[in-house]
């Protein structure tokens, strides 16, 4: 960065649940809390009513690799409980095995997440080898990472390798974004988006895809994705001169830090009731666990990143780690369910790719 650029505010970070030794730092205590909340019906009953039980994969199209929980931000809704004080990072043996799977199967998309996945020392290698294997590579980028001195190379690297950048920005105005993601995040995020735009990201015809993700800043459900995208595009251009391709709406999941927020504010029961009431069979049919496989930092396999954080590995006799990976067996598995799954089926649905219905 040149010295003529404005000085951006520092990001405020907080200790993670793990660092605070909070009760909800453990997946077991989170599952126990969720199980205690009375709901009108179980998720299994809702799926049964929709004719979707047992929930089966439609085919694994996305290999989502969570390379670690370290992050330079501590967003208040984070289901990973990621932060600077987390140390879990994918060891070499797991990275090597993931790369073998990426290179040795026909799964078309590799989705790299974290934490801030770019903090993993082999993140670049994963991108390069996945791209060389002809994969579509998505990186779930928090934007601010690209402004850290050691990571300023990222925008050019993304562009050079045609990485599909998926970046969180809960709101096009500062207050909402900083409330959820930490003071200072908004200004840094806009600066990062401008750098990506300057390289062609989000611009028509460039082939460089920049998608944004918005989570509600509160205990309400996301609105209509198409309507919000139009508004986000208009406002991002008007207020900040920023362009992007698509907006994904994602429902806040009652897991980790958002679960703690709900519990501490006494809003947990009402929030779960809201999710249960808004169950949408069409959204349920399109849930991401049907076409995604999630890999934890230690190589354990999960149906999704949410089950990963609740320590609910794949079930139904399917191989449990990358070391005994068996695509055919995994595509036959029954997907593991829980009350948190209502977060993906409420309203228009929610997934790492946004709404799943309508």
């Amino acid at each position: 960065m040149s010295t003529t650029e404005p000085v951006l505010p520092k990001i405020t970070v907080l200790p993670t649940l793990q660092k605070r030794h909070a009760a909800l730092a453990s997946a077991q205590s989170q599952r126990a809390l969720l199980a205690r909340v009375p709901t009108a019906r179980t998720f299994e009953a809702a799926l049964h009513g929709a004719g979707l039980l047992p929930l089966k994969p439609t085919g694994i199209e996305i290999f989502q690799v969570n390379v670690g929980r370290k992050c330079n931000q501590t967003c208040r809704h984070c289901h990973v409980d990621a932060g600077p004080d987390r140390t879990e990072m994918m060891p070499d043996a797991v990275v090597d095995r993931c790369l073998e799977i990426i290179e040795g199967t026909s799964i078309p998309t590799v989705d790299i997440t974290g934490g801030a996945p770019e903090l993993h020392r082999r993140w670049r290698e994963i991108v390069v080898r996945a791209r060389a294997a002809g994969k579509h590579v998505m990186d779930r980028c928090n934007l601010t990472i690209t402004l850290l001195p050691n990571y300023a190379y990222l925008p050019e690297f993304f562009a050079e390798h045609g990485v599909h950048v998926v970046a969180s920005l809960p709101h096009y105005r500062q207050k909402g974004t900083d409330t959820q993601r930490g003071d200072g995040v908004f200004e840094q995020s806009v600066a990062a988006l401008k750098r990506l735009n300057a390289l062609g990201y989000g611009r028509p015809g460039s082939g460089l895809v920049l998608d944004l993700v918005t989570n509600p800043v509160g205990t309400f459900l996301p609105g209509d994705q198409r309507g919000l995208e139009a508004e986000w595009k208009r406002q991002m251009a008007r207020l900040h001169g920023v362009e992007f391709n698509a907006l994904y709406t994602i429902t806040n999941m009652p897991i980790s830090r958002f679960l703690e927020f709900l519990d501490e504010t006494g809003a947990l029961e009402a929030y779960l009731e809201r999710l249960v009431t808004a169950f949408n069979p069409a959204a349920a049919a399109g849930v991401m666990c049907r076409n995604t496989l999630s890999v934890g930092w230690d190589g354990t396999l999960y149906d999704c990143d949410f089950n990963q954080m609740l320590d609910l590995p794949v079930g139904g006799g399917a191989p449990r780690t990358v070391f005994d990976f068996d695509l055919a067996a995994l595509e036959r598995r029954d997907i593991v369910l829980g009350p948190h799954c209502f977060g993906c089926t409420a309203g228009a649905g929610s997934s790492c790719g946004g709404a799943t219905a309508g």
Binding site: H171, R173, K175, G218, F220, A270
Partner: protein, 138 residues
């Protein structure tokens, strides 16, 4: 959207503020407003179902995306809710505005629009006051 069976907060200061003894005076309705009544909006159809059906069909059409976006309509509704001082509408459209992507600053500006019109409506009548006073004066 403010509609029958809509998902709205069911607990609030209103529902938790009853004090012992109130029931002795108001045996049937201890409060004029109760947040628990909001999800019962559909019950306006009792005794007049055809009229209610027409109302809700029209109501939903009004708030559909059109020349104005659904978000813009929600912000207008929030402002009007304050102008007509309807606590149910304020709850409903505060939720709806947030869900449609508005933030607290935008919603506060909408409330100021309502307040400005209400204040301006009072003040512009000052001209009528002046006209009348001038007719009576010397």
């Amino acid at each position: 959207m403010f509609r029958p069976g809509a998902d709205h907060e069911r607990t609030s200061a209103l529902t938790h503020s009853r004090t012992p003894g109130q029931g002795r005076i108001h045996t049937h309705a201890p409060h004029y407003y109760d947040a628990a009544d909001l999800p019962r909006f559909g019950e306006i159809g009792k005794d007049a179902p055809e009229l209610a059906e027409k109302f809700f069909a029209w109501y939903n059409a009004v708030f559909a995306e059109g020349a104005l976006t659904a978000r813009e309509k929600s912000l207008i509704a929030l402002a009007v809710a304050h102008a007509v001082q309807c606590p149910y509408c304020i709850d409903a459209y505060s939720s709806d505005c947030l869900q449609k992507g508005a933030d607290a600053e935008q919603m506060t500006e909408a409330v100021h629009v309502a307040a400005a019109i209400r204040g301006g409506a009072s003040l512009v009548h000052g001209i009528q006051m002046r006209n009348h006073a001038e007719r009576l004066g010397m």
